[in-house]
Symmetry: C2
Subunit: 200 residues, 2 copies
Amino acid sequence: MLDRRRIAAAALDLADQQGTLTIPALARALGVAPSALYHHVSGRDEIISLMREELIITTSCDRDWSQPWPQALDKWTRGYLAAFTAHPRAVPLLATTPLAEPCIHAVYEEVAELLLTSGFAKDQIMPMITALESFTLGSALDSIAPPVMVSDVAREKAPHLAIALDHTPTDQQRAQAAFDTGLQALLTGFAALLPDHHTP
Amino acid sequence: MLDRRRIAAAALDLADQQGTLTIPALARALGVAPSALYHHVSGRDEIISLMREELIITTSCDRDWSQPWPQALDKWTRGYLAAFTAHPRAVPLLATTPLAEPCIHAVYEEVAELLLTSGFAKDQIMPMITALESFTLGSALDSIAPPVMVSDVAREKAPHLAIALDHTPTDQQRAQAAFDTGLQALLTGFAALLPDHHTP
């Protein structure tokens, strides 16, 4: 039986394999005629929306937002990364289509309320959310990129880079360390935006 | 006349238009047979490498690295964003292929030297560079994403999100504000990693 969640899951699989999504290919993957798909969805944009909802449902929609904002944003962003990293080739598709899912609006509402009540200015909220999302999308793409290997670098021409690479993991920990460093820096930098932040 | 820079430029155009790159399509766009391409490049990976080099040549390879690290990283990252934003649909392609271009290694060497001599730990250098790049790639994708519009949000269900959106530009300034906020936060957060940083 075809239903919207099954369509979303198949579309994620297809985008993972092919880095793109077409209605005929999705219908083939599901073993149905394209016309059968249109009984459930209005077209490609709605399928992409379902894919994103499928990812978000499994990560964000039942979060606990009662923590202080740095911990809440940290958990939220890590959940996003995990969802996107599971489908890295679908990321570009998901990143450049309007966010219209009610579930995502509900998550944004929680984040916006948390940040406004934590003292951030009204015009800082969406830039902060968007910066976190852009960093997370980029990190998901990075997680499937091969590392720069010290063996590829001419040591005598790039001695400082060679030192840095000597101290960089070459396994999955490489992308994780970059994500951890960036997320921590973003949260530290956001804290400095608060009016009661004391700079040294 | 076919040469490597002309191939790179045509490949960027093709990826921009189609979000993907194949040798037959590139040969068609250049009006040559696929075999003619192979006189200049070994294959698709090398073409992607040329595309990236073409972007980097125009942005990073002649930078002045004599400024203090926050200003130098700020300028470098903004240059990257400008290059990627000019070719947003090529970003996923460029992001997930190994960096092997000598020119990029030369840029990394400059950044690594700057950060090491500024006091950052050896194991922080690549995570910092990678976090900046991931943020920039994600921001380039965001720059072609349509904004969340307050009109799409149910005000009564999402009152805080509606306030945040009321204070968010709906033009190109939206993505720019998110990038500015995130970059500033990353640099502030990086500064906190320095051993002589005084926390309040």
